[in-house]
């Protein structure tokens, strides 16, 4: 076909140049189940060899494709089998050693992050799961590229309160061990309900059960593009028109991701897995999900109406994107990480966006309480309460929810935590001072909910 349209070409160039359209991540998902061994050093050698073998060309091919289509591919990542599964085959398990091996392999192949230093414990913890969880603070403090995620609840299994209490303590320890970096270790640690096993985004990426040997998963982005599309409508356009416009632009964003994903998978000689239809913001000006709320007519993120705006946005992104791709998965939807979104940061700093409003928004966003800085003095039981609330939202609503809060050591409400790069910066916001102790310290499990009588 020799036809080409000047308008279409300029629209595409404009989306990339002005509105920050990019491929947020190409993530090589890799099973490490065949790396089990009774000796931890054999496990380490097998893991290192396999990652380097599969991922050695990831960066090179990604750069080539970026040049061929002139679209930025921001992150190159690897997601592996939850390491608790691999490590517990050893008679002499040493998860910190395995974390260092993963970090070394990630460094050698030049990826930005490697995810999967985690466990799935929604119903209970094995010995290996417990050991891995206890090693998280040291592992994240002693490595640069490791991301850790723990699944603590699901709609089928309920909520594991014992594991939540353990993780609340681990989050605190992780932040304290990285106090020099405002607790940056906790920015690489996430607690999930209903964690998807094909998510390409960090910190929660891992290669789940039922996944193939390897796959190439891709995450797109483009809040700036969606905002520009909404801005192009007249100010009094009804919301159904706004939703349709978002669907159309989501289709274009996703089809680009689909193309890049297939090309990347073909070059690597591995199957294409899924595309994650996500609106992932960055701290760059104009690349903000909160900016879309303002384009829709809200004064700022946090105003009454924000949850409704986010619900519509999240749904329209999925509807538009789903037709553009053969396989959709991951977290698909709009992310609301506070520190990674310039206008969310502004809203939080001005007190427009409170912890409670953020929690309400997580009922309809793609993930959950994300990149929220809280005072370093927040009691561990309060952190456990925060996690339990968020897990409950996910469990009852059959959606993925997550918690990535950072109790910033030695800093209090109103001060700023600075992480840099895509992780951005966050004003420390207050949490409720009432005690959660009596409830969370009961421990045990919250039973799985009934899946009928949906009121």
């Amino acid at each position: 076909m020799n036809f080409f349209s000047e308008d279409s070409i300029l629209e595409t160039i404009n989306m990339i140049k002005v509105h920050n359209l990019d491929i947020r991540t190409v993530t090589l998902a890799l099973s490490l189940r065949d790396c089990c061994d009774t000796d931890v050093h054999c496990v380490g050698e097998k893991i290192h060899e396999k990652i380097v073998r599969y991922a050695k060309n990831l960066r090179k091919y990604s750069d080539e494709i970026e040049s061929e289509y002139s679209i930025p591919i921001v992150n190159k990542r690897i997601a592996v089998t939850p390491i608790s599964l691999v490590g517990e085959s050893c008679k002499n398990p040493d998860y910190i050693y395995l974390a260092k091996i993963l970090d070394k392999a990630a460094d050698e192949v030049g990826v930005d992050f490697i995810g999967g230093f985690g466990a799935l414990v929604e119903k209970g913890m094995t010995k290996g799961d417990s050991l891995l969880m206890e090693s998280i603070p040291e592992a994240l403090a002693q490595t640069n590229k490791i991301c850790s995620s723990i699944n603590l609840a699901s709609s089928k299994a309920g909520i594991n309160m014992d594991a939540i209490n353990k993780m609340a303590q681990i989050i605190k320890q992780t932040a304290d061990l990285t106090a020099d970096g405002d607790g940056i270790g906790a920015a690489k640690l996430v607690c999930f309900c209903n964690a998807p096993g094909d998510n390409p985004f960090m910190a929660g990426a891992f290669h789940g059960y039922g996944e193939p040997e390897c796959a190439l998963n891709i995450g797109v982005s483009g809040p700036g593009v969606v905002r520009a599309a909404v801005d192009s409508l007249r100010k009094d356009a009804p919301l159904d028109e706004v939703a349709n416009k978002i669907k159309q632009i989501a289709y274009k964003i996703t089809s680009t991701g689909e193309l890049i994903g297939h090309e990347m998978a073909q070059k690597l000689g591995i199957p294409f897995g899924i595309i994650d239809l996500s609106l992932a913001p960055t701290p760059a000006i104009g690349d903000s999900v909160a900016g879309i709320f303002r384009a829709m007519g809200l004064e700022h993120a946090g105003a009454h109406g924000t949850t409704a705006a986010l619900a519509m946005l999240n749904d329209a992104v999925k509807k538009g994107g789903i037709m553009a791709s053969s396989h959709v998965g991951g977290l698909s939807g709009a992310f609301i990480p506070v520190s990674e979104d310039a206008e969310m940061i502004e809203a939080a700093r001005n007190g427009f966006l409170t912890f409670d409003k953020l929690e309400a928004m997580t009922c309809v966003c793609s993930v959950g309480l994300d990149m929220i800085a809280i005072p370093g003095t927040t009691p561990i039981d309060t952190i456990a309460g925060i996690i339990a609330d968020e897990m409950a939202i996910g469990m009852i609503n059959k959606k993925t929810t997550a918690v990535r809060v950072i109790p910033v050591p030695n800093k209090k409400v109103g001060e700023n935590a600075v992480y840099g790069g895509l992780l951005g910066e966050a004003p420390i916001i207050p949490v409720n001072n009432l005690s959660s102790t009596g409830f969370v310290q009961r421990g045990g499990r919250i039973p799985a909910p009934i899946h009928s009588l949906n009121n």
Binding site: F4, S5, E6, I9, T12, E64, Y69, S70, T256
Partner: protein, 94 residues
């Protein structure tokens, strides 16, 4: 028969001046890249040129062709985009 994947769209944006078309087409000819269609216009006082080219007979790699055109863009102070056509086909057709 040429493969769709060898098709390239070149977009040049900037102030109008003598020699834009001449230099670009000469570079493409040197690389044995065939120009299948060319359109140009002035948009908001900006010169914009679009070229559909086919690199299926070129001995040069995509990046060599792109580097050559980007260098011309730098010399003439023009914005040059060299992209495989598939991105536009995929994004703008259902």
């Amino acid at each position: 028969m040429s493969k769709e994947n060898d098709k390239i769209i070149i977009t040049i944006i900037g102030a109008d001046k003598v020699g834009i078309v001449a230099k670009t087409t000469a570079a493409l000819a040197e690389c044995q890249v065939n120009i299948e269609d060319i359109k140009q216009s002035i948009m908001q006082d900006c010169f914009v040129m679009f070229m559909l080219a086919n690199a299926d007979k070129s001995p040069k790699s995509f990046s060599e062709i792109k580097d050559k055109l980007t260098k011309i863009g730098e010399e003439m102070k023009l914005e040059v985009w060299v992209q495989k056509k598939a991105i536009f086909d995929k994004m703008h057709t259902i």
